[in-house]
């Protein structure tokens, strides 16, 4: 305890990461009925967290990794430590999470205003912030896993925030269960490591992997299993469908959890034990393939949906796939940097969309456009910034990170990954601008009367148009837009900050960064521009069909629209194998065979009682006969 107050860094860590938990507890236990106070507590706590994160970043950015550790418990030879491990990566992530969470909570002050579950919302937000911040700086994989699960829990609660809505609670459940599938793999991987290696400390793992201190078979199996966790959390193929559904939650939640931070946790974990993963080429190859498939698949899905949030959701999946590709290809910095920039602009995109949704009470981009979405100037501008960043257009942050990734992929001997990434970039640009143009240039112009109608339909909000609520939402958006603009230019400081330490562990990772040339940049930019151009041709220009080329291929459209039938496949197999098959079989077995067997034994027992009771017939002499016979049999038995 004493150390806590003498060491400002530890104090910052403990306070910064655990205050949100305190705020959750306070809100749930005491201030539930006072929404205003609840939100203030929560925002206050997350502000402290953000400040401590920045403080830590500032304080530690050129120090060597810092480790705090204490024994949590031990069982047999297994020692479970509780501790913090602060290296550049975790500091960076801590800052990202702290800042974005803070912005989103501020934003929510406006967005969630008046919601009956306001206090609850902030409690869960705090829960999330606590879990995520702790996860980021966790010192061991087990600790990371614990908070990883808690993050998932927070996600479950937040997705199902509108629990009266069946689809929301369904989506929450789906998210949790799909994550669970990945997590069980993760868990098994950890167990495998415990058995094979005996230590789950992150630095120890990385060190052992880098110095071949781990047997190869343990390593590969463990890496693959742990990668399952990434697949679940970061919505990689084949567990990618939960994320679009997760958009049932409030938009700020989507911004924070399901794009910027929580889903990036998978990628973060990947990079956290990057040296460990990279010691297993097989696992890396699998990861690369999965990242690529995910990126392409979700890109196609995003191209056909009209739902604002769905587009960004698919896009998130796609970008996550890209990050996994980068990491799997050995591009440690590229992956992490893309994670950073993506966190910024994707949060921006969601929050902007949130403003539209809050304003127009619909998710359909066509209706928003029709109702005059472009009149909201600030969000419109910001969403455009975000889209440009997403498409990788200079000078927005996305450009830099995407270039880095392309550079890494180009260094791969097999150029197919690069081609795939470029194709993905085209699709990204296409679907983001498809959305932007829908908002900007609606099909039949803007409905004039909408304003009055609107005024009737939703009272209360309009008065605040430029008041507290609007600005609570607008300011975070503008900050994020600013970040998206400038973040790209700090690429090299960040790279230095990150690589400076990782180089020692894994020199290959660094070399790959510089494989790219001029032509790569041109190709990257032109891929983005190509996408935008197609989108302009189809949706932006005057007299555009506004249908998209995919509508000429209904089958393909349907395939993309239905998410490649993945959901149907899962549903069907769940219904057939689990519900229809095993469950009903086992239930029947329970009722009929086991229970029936037991009841049968009872029935048989009672029946034999009835049967035996015939031996006791009323006729005396039969009974006497039985007696005599028994004696006779006994005599015979003894005689022979």
């Amino acid at each position: 305890m004493g150390a806590l107050f003498h060491d400002p860094i530890l104090l910052a860590i403990v306070l910064g990461t655990n205050l949100p938990f305190l705020s959750m507890a306070v809100i749930l236990l005491f201030t539930r009925s006072n929404p205003k106070l609840s939100s203030q507590i929560s925002v206050g706590a997350i502000l402290v967290s953000a400040v401590s994160a920045i403080y830590l970043l500032a304080k530690l950015h050129c120090a060597s990794p810092l480790q705090y550790q204490t024994l949590w418990f031990s069982s047999d030879k297994l020692l479970i430590a509780f501790g913090y491990y602060l290296d550049p990566l975790s500091l960076l992530m801590l800052t990202i999470v702290g800042v974005i969470a803070c912005l989103v909570q501020i934003y929510s002050l406006g967005y969630m205003a008046g919601d009956p579950g306001y206090s609850r919302y902030y409690a869960f937000q705090s829960l999330f912030a606590w879990a995520m911040l702790n996860m980021v700086i966790a010192g061991s994989m087990l600790q990371l896993f614990i908070y990883w699960e808690m993050v998932g829990l927070a996600s479950y609660f937040l997705i199902g925030f509108y629990y009266e809505k069946w689809s929301a609670s369904q989506a929450g459940k789906k998210a949790f269960v799909m994550n669970r599938v990945g997590d069980v793999g993760f868990f098994l991987g950890l167990i495998w490591l415990v058995i094979g290696f005996g230590n789950l400390g992150i630095p120890e793992l990385n060190h052992a992997a880098a110095t071949q201190g781990l047997p190869q078979h343990v390593l590969t199996v463990a890496a693959l299993l742990i990668f399952c966790g990434v697949i679940g959390k970061s919505a990689q193929f084949p567990l990618l469908t939960w994320l679009p559904d997760a958009m049932e939650g409030p938009t700020p939640v989507s911004a924070l959890l399901h794009s910027a931070t929580m889903v990036a946790a998978g990628v973060y974990m990947f990079s956290r034990i990057f040296p460990f993963f990279s010691a297993s080429p097989d696992a890396m190859a699998v990861a690369l393939a999965i990242g690529t498939i995910t990126m392409l698949l979700s890109g196609t899905m995003a191209m056909v949906t009209y739902d604002l949030k769905q587009v960004w959701a698919y896009s998130t999946v796609s970008q996550l796939g890209m990050m996994v590709m980068a990491l799997a290809a050995g591009g440690y910095f590229a992956g992490v940097f893309h994670l950073t920039t993506h966190a910024g602009f994707k949060a921006l995109l969601f929050l902007c969309s949130g403003i539209f949704i809050h304003e127009f009470h619909t998710n359909d981009m066509r209706i928003i456009g029709k109702k005059g979405g472009r009149r909201l100037k600030i969000p419109m501008a910001c969403i455009a910034v975000g889209a440009l960043a997403l498409s990788g257009v200079f000078p927005f942050s996305g450009f830099f990170s995407k270039e880095a990734i392309l550079g890494v992929l180009a260094a791969q001997p097999n150029k197919i990954w690069l081609a795939a990434a470029l194709l993905g970039a085209v699709m990204t640009a296409y679907y983001s601008f498809r959305l932007i143009f829908h908002l900007l240039f609606p099909k039949d112009g803007i409905e004039e009367k909408q304003h009055e109608e609107h005024g009737h339909s939703s009272h209360g909000h309009e008065e605040d148009h430029h008041g507290y609520i609007f600005w609570a939402m607008a300011i975070p958006v503008m900050i994020l837009a600013g970040v998206s603009l400038v973040l790209g230019f700090v690429e090299h400081p960040i790279e230095h900050f990150l690589i400076g330490h990782i180089v020692e562990a894994h020199p290959v990772a660094h070399g790959a960064e510089h494989g790219g040339g001029e032509w790569l940049m041109i190709m990257g930019v032109s891929a983005g521009l190509l996408g935008i151009a197609v989108a302009w041709f189809e949706f932006g220009r005057k007299g555009a069909s506004r249908k998209g080329f995919l509508s000429y291929f209904p089958a393909v459209w349907k395939l993309f629209d239905r998410r490649w039938f993945l959901d149907i496949f899962y549903r069907k197999s769940l219904d057939t194998f689990v519900y229809g098959g095993l469950t009903s079989l086992f239930t029947k077995n329970d009722r009929r065979v086991i229970d029936g067997g037991i009841d049968g034994i009872c029935f048989f027992t009672e029946g034999s009682g009835r049967l035996f009771s015939f031996l006791q017939s009323g006729m005396l002499q039969y009974n006497l006969l039985m007696m005599v016979l028994a004696a006779g049999v006994a005599v015979l038995y003894l005689l022979f």
Binding site: Y163, S169, L188, Y579, L582, T587
Partner: protein
Amino acid sequence: MEMAGFPILTAILSTTILGLLIIIFIPPEKTKLIKQVSLASATVGLVLCIWLYYAYDHQKGGLQFVERILWVKSLGIYWFNGVDGINLPMMLLTSIVLFTAIWTMWELENRVKEFFALIFLLVAGVYGVFMSMDLFWIFVWYDVSLFPMYPLIAIWGGTRKEYGAMKLTLYLLAGSALILPAIIYLWVAGGAHTFDLFELQRIGFSAFDQKMTFIMLYLGFGILAAVWPFHTWSPVGHVAAPTAVSMIHAGVLMKLGAYGILRIGMTLCPAGAQYWSSLMALLACIGIVYGALVGLAQTDLKYVIGYSSVSHMGVVGLGLATMSVNGINGAVFQMFAHGVMTALFFSSVGYIYDRTHTKIIPELGGLSKTMPIASSFFIVAALAGIGVPLMASFWAELLVFIAAVKVFPVGGIAALVGLIISALFMLRVVQRTFYGEKNPKWEHIPDVSGFLAVPRVILMSIILFFGMFPKIMLDVIQSTVIPFVNRF
């Protein structure tokens, strides 16, 4: 005759017996007084158990607070009580569950006197089994704890109560039909004519004797531990039982089975346990997956919990089957964690049932709106059931699976898959019961009052407390398990 100081274990036992006797002499109309007396005596038990837990020296380990008196000379029966790292958590669990269960039943109006008297009789048996180190007494207390279940379920129960009560009682006592011969067999085979567990432990039984008695003990106790395929009494019994009885039954009584396997079977017949360990692991794994899968199809809240208990007790069985320190640590911890968790489950379901008079899931729904606090208790329990970290059961499962994957890789992995299913079915229940449109039928129902929330909050806090500080429990468990496993 060894008597180290104040006989605290006998004192704990006598809190229940005294409670029982006092209640018998209170006129049945004074229900308030009866409840107060019950709660008071449960509180004394709780305080003593907590003190016991605190006073236990886990550095030293081994059996402490020993009381040993020769009881029946010609048979070698001793009044021999003591605690070590295995039964200490169980004692604590019992006192917690008893305390909360009595508090939960505060609103009972029907035949109050008999109810609490029987509850105390039941718990006296449970305490007795846990604290006793003499085979004879373990069996006596074991049976004492079983037969009050019959009236408790049949009088105050719900759905199909008479069937459930009869099935449960007969089933469990059929289990003891195997246990008693096994115990006497060990007594005879030992040759020393003593039921003292530790004296018997010193006798090396022949491999054949060990194998035979172990399987008898395993099947006998396994019935109570709801080992697949002897589990069907458990859901049926839970559904029929009143709240407090479900709490005690699933929370504590089912642990008696696993405890018996560990305490008698594995202690006295290590070679037998080794021989049958694959069977144990197989049944446990089937139980884990099977319980979860059948739980998916249930529409009655209590059935769901009943099957989840089957699944969770499978984890205990799997831990025991590994015969390793981690596995047994995890198993004992899981017994504790599951006890508290399932008590919370039943107490929250009990509240819902008391108010809505139904526990059929499709008839409920949207309860989160009308009774948010009651719902949150259930949800916390469900999360603990899923094995969410920072809940006590997570650590238990972690340890068990670490051991299981090492010893029985295939079974361990299959059981892990069961975790996915258990998540699916818990969430399914939560969703259908508490989420969704609010049901106008339940709108008038008040949420849990502060007074009635207390026991549930206690249970919830315990789950979280041991989830965050598992060391407090594991150090104690471990102090006994390590020397225990070293004997194998």
